[in-house]
Symmetry: C2
């Protein structure tokens, strides 16, 4: 029996996973992994924590849980995989079933035959075509060498100024890392909001938190030039002409799939620019698979192709590619729903499924709701979280859920990812049986309560609007009665300060006479989180008012300046 020759290009996440899985499923296979970079299996999602200094040792990013560095000797011994680092694949000869390689250090070249090839070439950070991008002090955070450099620079520049170009996931993680490392950080995001995977209501809350932690955040403005002197960065010029002095610029405007090899070999690319595969991670060449950041995948909710350059998916895709390379197409990668989470100072920001914006872009009619609450009971030391749910209007199926805050966002987003994967509806989640004890959740879990709110909206019991929509009404000159139904003490501590009227919910039924005589007068009811705001709406509607809106999430979700 001839040994099957499996060649894997790329050694970060998808590649090693594919190689190891292939070998486990066929101990007789000859598995070779070619890695251009000097290291293997780098925990690249950990780079921001290495830059910040909270990850002390570089090797911790390269180790197995048992503390062994994943180097070629480890791969040879433990995995039975021949891993060659510093070895770039320069071409794929599909007809000859070979790859051409070149050792970076020596220039040595050679060819390697394959029966099945797995491409896991990853992605590269996008670099904006602006003057000054070649200056010393301009970097990305994509490779371990980038992380080394950024860690050193941050250490050397204590108290100095850094500008991060891009307020996405990596931009905001880097913002925290450099702030923690002692730099004064400004994030510049060309889009109107940071963290594009969130709808603006939630993104604004994270932005406020980052600002409260000392970071400057500028949105809706791009960078036109990186300024320098003597070859080193001295600042950036914004598109509106403003200049920000700084000695460090981190470019974090996203990544692009590395498809040059695949393209040169004539493999089909998708409309997104990633390598096109079928559900078995097989490319247009039946003997070539691809996995990780270099491929495009299917969004399971829209059915459309998308790029999803995330470490967790890379591992799953690699597992599928590795299996199929040796067993034939027994494994399937079903696609993504777009789950993600990131830490931004003391906040977590996570989302799964479609945001409202993306659902509407996909032409889906949706109903949404905001919910603000503690994560666990107050007597256990609760922290606040705010979430948004996106529901298909026609079916009640949950399409998206996002959550931000200082509390336990992680559980909420993870459980709702599974709910979306299971095709659950609002009614399903409204009666979900989840693990409850006071250290871990509310008696009615936050996400279940979010489902209750949107269920009340779908049934016409609650008429809600996000704080952004309410703000728009005020900005457009509409003058609804802003009805704060909290207690006087809460009102003293903090309030909108926009001419609102305070009538505590407990007195509302008796004090209806103080409200406008016109039952069609617009009223916006709210409280701290708008549970009481909703109850006020029910009372007012029973009293004949027909234009009452609840400001969803209440003051906890109001992302603009407030009094006191």
């Amino acid at each position: 029996m001839s040994r099957k020759r499996i060649v894997v290009i790329g050694g970060t996440a998808a590649g090693p996973k594919a190689a190891a899985r292939a070998k486990r499923l066929d101990e007789n296979a000859e598995v070779t992994l070619l890695q251009k970079a000097p290291n293997l299996s780098m925990a690249s999602c950990g780079y921001p924590y290495y830059v910040a200094g909270s990850v002390k040792e570089r090797d911790m990013l390269l180790c197995t849980p048992a503390g062994v560095v994943r180097d070629p000797a480890f791969f040879a011994g433990a995995k039975g995989v021949a891993a060659l680092t510093g070895t770039e694949v320069t071409a794929i000869d599909r007809a000859a079933h070979t790859v051409a390689w070149k050792r970076t250090a020596t220039g040595e070249i050679g060819h390697l035959p394959y029966d099945k090839l797995i491409i896991a070439t990853g992605s590269s950070p996008k670099v904006p075509p602006i003057p000054g991008r070649e200056l010393a002090g301009v970097t990305t955070l994509a490779t371990l060498e980038d992380a080394d450099g950024l860690r050193e620079k941050a250490k050397a520049m204590q108290g100095g100024k850094a500008v991060i170009v891009g307020g996405g996931l990596i931009g905001m993680e880097t913002c925290e890392a450099l702030t923690d490392a002692g730099m004064a950080v400004t994030v510049v995001e060309a889009l109107p909001q940071i963290l594009g995977f969130l709808d603006p209501e939630l993104a604004l809350l994270v932005e406020n938190h980052a600002k409260a932690k000392g970071a400057a955040v500028l949105t809706g403005v791009g960078i036109s030039e990186i300024l320098g002197a003597n070859g080193a960065v001295t600042g950036v010029r914004l598109a509106d002409g403003r200049e920000l002095p700084c000695s460090l610029v981190v470019l974090a405007i996203g990544v692009a799939p590395n498809v040059a090899l695949a393209k040169a070999a004539g493999l089909e690319l998708g409309t997104t620019g990633g390598i096109k595969t079928d559900a078995h991670m097989r490319t247009s060449d039946p003997d070539i698979y691809a996995a990780g950041d270099c491929v495009e995948v299917t969004n399971r909710l829209t059915g459309k192709p998308m790029l999803a350059p995330y470490g967790d998916l890379a591992n799953l895709e690699g597992r599928v590619a590795g299996e199929n390379a040796v067993l034939g197409d027994t494994a399937t990668f079903p696609g993504t729903i777009g789950s993600g989470i990131c830490k931004v100072f003391d906040f977590a920001a996570g989302a799964t499924g479609l945001s409202e914006r993306r659902a509407r872009e996909a032409g889906i009619d949706v109903v949404t709701a905001l919910n603000a609450s503690p994560d666990i009971p107050g007597f256990m030391g609760a922290k606040p979280i705010v979430s948004k749910i996106v529901v298909e209007a026609a079916t009640g199926r949950i399409l998206g859920f996002a959550c931000v805050g200082a509390g336990n966002v992680n559980r909420q987003v993870a459980e709702m990812a599974m709910a979306i994967l299971g095709g659950l509806t609002v009614d399903d989640v409204s009666m979900a049986d989840l693990p409850y004890a006071p250290p871990y959740s509310l008696a009615i879990d936050h996400a279940i309560a979010t489902a209750h709110i949107v269920q009340n909206k779908l049934r016409g019991l609650m008429r809600g609007q996000s704080p952004l929509a309410v703000k728009d009404r005020l900005d457009n000159g509409e003058k609804p009665l802003l009805l704060d139904v909290r207690g006087p003490k809460e009102y003293e501590e903090m309030r909108l300060g926009l001419g609102e009227k305070l009538v505590p919910l407990g007195q509302l039924r008796k004090r209806l006479g103080e409200l406008p005589e016109d039952k069609h007068a617009p009223i916006v009811a709210y409280c701290k989180v708008s549970m009481r705001g909703y109850e006020a709406q029910r009372v007012l509607e029973a009293a004949g008012y027909d234009n009452v809106t609840v400001m969803e999430g209440g003051l906890a979700a109001w992302p603009f300046a407030r009094e006191k």
Copy 2:
């Protein structure tokens, strides 16, 4: 239009939820809530933390998130509900549509008419029929008054000895509470293990942890008598004759539904002893609903009735009962899957769905797997967790998942509860798209990895056994080669100490000659968590060995004594 009269019996969890929901859906309804106890809406799941002293103020157990005590004035003002405390319902006259009530303090009696009645009478702790149960110093932890008393006693008895009868959820929470409060605690559990919602593999790990924290845990032995002198507890006598001196005994052997009122009124009870309702929480009387600990509910996985006296379900059932009492049967409670979690010192222990034992009792053929891993990457400060998955053999559908450990058990159990509610299979979860970032999960989430393991078992790629099954083989005189495939340093730090052979995985392919010549010789491979153990099995099988077993969860899941 005549106002609908809704009467609710019971004011802890289900009752207040039902009353408030009913009023929100019909502001014109007259909603009256009758509560025997002096307080309303007590956060009874928080009692252990109040006893321990970590919840400082009693009122924190009675407050809204905004800090308002939920007393009758609050219910009247904010909820529009007339709540009468210290008022016991003594009888239900179904024909007359009235309830008879009596004020505990004054003896005053009266009648209250209803159009719809909601019974939420809760449950009472079981008291074993043993001598001495009336002694001072013997208590349960079911009411706020119990919690007051226990908190006082624990404070007064600093350094004293307490015995907790029953090692279930409340027993173990109370064990932690009294230990934290400064007492020396012994838990006595008549069954062979604590925490009956877990299979023994995981329960043993929690037991070990409790012991490491200073608690004594005795399993498989009951209490025959509570010993006393001068009317006060001095100790307990176990069924095997041993005596444990103590000055405090907490009875925590479970609760029974309070059904006397319902039974006397001729309402149908279920086979479990709880009030029988349909999916709308309607009893055998069309004008009477029931919710909370007093009802029996349907297990969604077995289809069988069960008691599920949990605060989260009480709220959901109350929401359904409250809605249906005013709107007709528009809302449905779909039943439970048995999700729960509790904190035991630094461990969390959670489960959802069926344990292996319960699945087998229900006649379902299942395959299971254990998985031990860090909860997040090692470089982020990981803590270990161990989980068990229970899968229907015929379909691959996930029926149960349990997880224990010092790490983030909460997310794991919550997400898998949603997976079970969604009817997901092992294949589905093996490719789940969950939120990942290093502060929050592994790149391949723990539960996904657990699915990978059981998938490998289902496909015959991995042959695994739990540590308990391996221990049974050893105890039965079988002498498999115990093959530890970790590194020498790990081996020095800690090992089974049962005559095992160390061959690090990285050397295994070269050192096959050191293994038994007989390819049928039984071998049990393992490492710290048995990832490498599984890889060793694959290598050995490729070398012709046909009787290799992986010890699932490895040393991390081995619940017996180990060397060093």
